[in-house]
């Protein structure tokens, strides 16, 4: 049973359509992620779900019940704020108890609830501490425990770790994933960082201008994007797009200069562009087989375990460059001429509307 469902939900602010005829279902205990650029409607979706906005049309269901017109306080959905909003003068225990005490629940009931949730999130040993004495990860757990203690259907997080620095983000997202696994609750999560989205989400929705462009598991979307837009949103470095030579539909044009010959069977007849992920773009220092184009290396970026090589088509006047992600460490000189290669099955074809074919 889906714990959350949107059916044809639209929300307009004046002339702007923030959420445009959106439908999706989130399963129980799922880690669901909304991902999109700024102003793509991610936060409005969260606000609609929370009950802070009323949709202009469409229905919202929580636990099978229509809640479209219910107010935030009647929806039983919890929100964990980016700054966590823990009360600094209260111990972790008092912070977690707070929502229940506010609801005037009986002491035995409160104790039972707090015990359950603390055991689940493995924070029994830190309950006596003040927030200031907790590590970042522990604070995160306490804030989530406080959200979960009143048994919400789901809890929401709006870009909770974007303010942290790179290393801390990597560690915290793993911690969040663990917490969600321990908590066993539906988590709806908003982020603008593709790596974060792919790392933590069970399933994700990619948004553009208030519309959901694709829903699926991260790896599924990564491998089988429905459009150029979606293909470009995931992956770092971003996917390479090659213009097909329109006169023969049998070659990949490198910015009008070099040409990669393609077997016509590889690419559907209506394809005008093909995409190739950087990890699938091969770079060979020698002249390879006949089906390759030459390019010049314009930058080599060592990442340690990987190397990003940027190549520019020769004699090209345009600024187009292509990136390859190579496993391991490679010594290459900027300016060297190289040949490019790929495996036919790694190409993703797009028609003139930017939609994926096949």
């Amino acid at each position: 049973m889906a714990s959350i469902a949107f059916k044809n939900v639209t929300k307009r602010f004046g002339d702007t359509t923030a959420v445009d005829n959106v439908s999706f279902e989130i399963a129980d205990n799922e880690f669901f992620c909304f991902f999109g650029p700024p102003l793509s409607g991610k936060s409005t979706l969260l606000r609609l779900l929370l009950g802070l906005e009323v949709p202009d049309s469409g229905e919202i269901y929580i636990d099978g019940k229509a809640v479209t017109t219910l107010q935030a306080s009647q929806r039983n959905i919890a929100m964990v704020f980016q700054n966590l909003a823990l009360f600094p003068h209260m111990t972790a225990l008092d912070n977690i108890r707070f929502p229940l005490v506010e609801r005037k629940m009986s002491e035995t009931h409160i104790r039972q609830k707090v015990e359950d949730v603390s055991a689940k999130l493995h924070i029994e040993h830190i309950l006596h501490k003040l927030p200031a004495h907790l590590s970042g990860g522990e604070r995160q757990r306490v804030a989530i425990a406080r959200a979960l203690v009143r048994d919400p259907v789901a809890y929401l997080m709006d870009d909770p770790i974007s303010a942290l620095d790179a290393r801390l983000r990597e560690e915290t997202r793993v911690e969040l994933k663990r917490i969600q696994r321990d908590a066993g609750k539906t988590l709806v999560y908003v982020t603008h960082d593709q790596e974060e989205a792919m790392s933590i989400a069970d399933r994700m929705a990619i948004l553009e201008n208030g519309k959901i462009r694709q829903i699926g598991t991260p790896i599924d979307i990564y491998d089988r994007p429905v459009s150029k837009y979606v293909a470009g949103m995931l992956g770092s470095p971003a996917i390479n797009f090659f213009q097909l030579d329109d006169t023969q539909a049998s070659g990949i044009r490198l910015a009008g200069e070099g040409l990669i010959q393609l077997d016509a069977r590889e690419v559907p007849a209506n394809a005008v562009q093909v995409g190739l992920r950087p990890e699938n773009l091969a770079i060979r220092p020698d002249g390879g087989a006949g089906d390759v184009a030459t390019a010049r290396i314009s930058s080599v970026e060592p990442l340690g375990g990987f190397t990003v090589v940027t190549v520019a088509p020769q004699q090209s006047k345009s600024q187009t460059v292509y990136r390859a992600l190579l496993r391991g460490q490679h010594q290459m000189e900027v300016g060297t001429e190289v040949t490019l290669g790929y495996q036919p099955d790694q190409l993703i074809s797009f028609d003139q509307n930017g939609l994926a074919i096949g």
């Binding site: 602010f13 004046g14 002339d15 702007t16």
Partner: protein, 322 residues
């Protein structure tokens, strides 16, 4: 102390409202109109009624001594006589001139002094907080009390003369408040003493709003402190400067309490400003029709000045954002 400049806060709120207006649908706008209608009528009544009454009275020679209720003032109809008299009234023009004199001397001094102190406060120096608090004290004092303080200070056997005697070695007995020129100077001094802190406070807020990074960037690009002030600071605090000057100008136009306690407008009419003049003719001479005409004239004049100021501000802003 606020760290945001009033100007940026203001422009932000303006753009916010614009955004919201654009988003609000026509229905919502109509609803908003109906909801605010009662209040708007009330406000209109409160503002418009006294104005109309004033206009009416100003066209008559009505005074409370006439034994008529104000509603029957038409029996003493005078037409535009009161307005004509105004333009022949030397005492009125004298008061107007003195008011302007006080403004054009006091406001620039307060402005420059306030700016200088504010710039000083952008640097670190020992006991800054103590100076800061001390500087704000004059502003907190009730104007009437400040007037009394200056009244005492400038008595002919008061502390100022005693101090001067100490320095010059001979007995000084200047009658500050009985000398027409000196009395005006003392009035101006008192105002500078009391209101420079406000200027300082507003301008400091403006200076604190100038992004530090941009100042550093200018320095790194080779700007001298003076160039930095002219090219970065001045353009960024121009709006707030205009606001500060406007506030003090309007306030000074109404100067009354401090001055009245010190000199009561005297000696003679040497320190009689517009407010003192109105007060006197209202309470002593009771020519209320004349007063009404005078008050209306001032209102119209000030409105024109204010509108001009607003126009300049707006032009400034639209130029900055264009």
């Amino acid at each position: 102390m606020t760290d945001a400049s009033g100007a940026t806060a203001m422009s932000k709120s303006i753009s916010d409202t614009k955004g919201r207006q654009r988003l609000a649908s026509a229905d919502q706008r109509r609803l908003g109109f109906y909801l605010t209608l009662p209040t708007q009528i009330l406000v209109l009544f409160i503002a418009v009624f006294p104005l109309l009454m004033q206009l009416y009275i100003s066209m008559t020679d009505w005074t409370p001594l006439s034994g008529l209720n104000w509603t029957r003032a038409y029996e003493l109809w005078a037409g535009f006589a009161n307005y004509r008299d105004l333009f022949d009234d030397d005492r009125f023009f004298g008061a107007l001139w003195r008011t302007f004199l006080i403004i054009i001397i006091a406001v620039p001094i307060e402005f420059l002094l306030g700016l200088a102190i504010a710039m000083l406060f952008m640097e670190e120096f020992p006991a800054k907080k103590v100076f800061y608090s001390a500087l704000l004290v004059p502003m907190m004092i009730v104007p009437a009390v400040a007037g009394y303080m200056f009244f005492l200070l400038f008595q002919s056997d008061g502390p100022i003369n005693q101090l001067l005697s100490l320095f010059t070695g001979s007995k000084v007995a200047i009658s500050w408040l009985s000398d027409p020129d000196l009395a005006l100077a003392v009035v101006i001094m008192a105002d500078i003493w009391q209101w420079t802190p406000l200027m300082f406070l507003i301008l400091l807020a403006g200076l604190l709003g100038v992004p530090n990074d941009q100042l550093k960037a200018a320095t790194l690009l080779g700007a001298s402190p003076w160039q930095r002030f002219v090219t970065i600071v001045l353009p960024k605090i121009k709006t707030i400067m205009i606001i500060a000057v406007a506030i003090r100008t309007i306030e000074l136009f109404k100067i009354f309490d401090t001055l009245y306690i010190m000199t009561a407008g005297g000696p003679g009419v040497a320190t009689e400003t517009i407010s003192v003049f109105i007060y006197k003719i209202t309470t002593l001479e009771l020519v209320w029709g004349y007063v009404a005409a005078l008050a209306l004239l001032i209102l119209v004049t000030l409105s024109i000045v204010a509108a001009l100021g607003m126009y300049l501000l707006q032009r400034n802003k639209s130029r900055a954002s264009a």
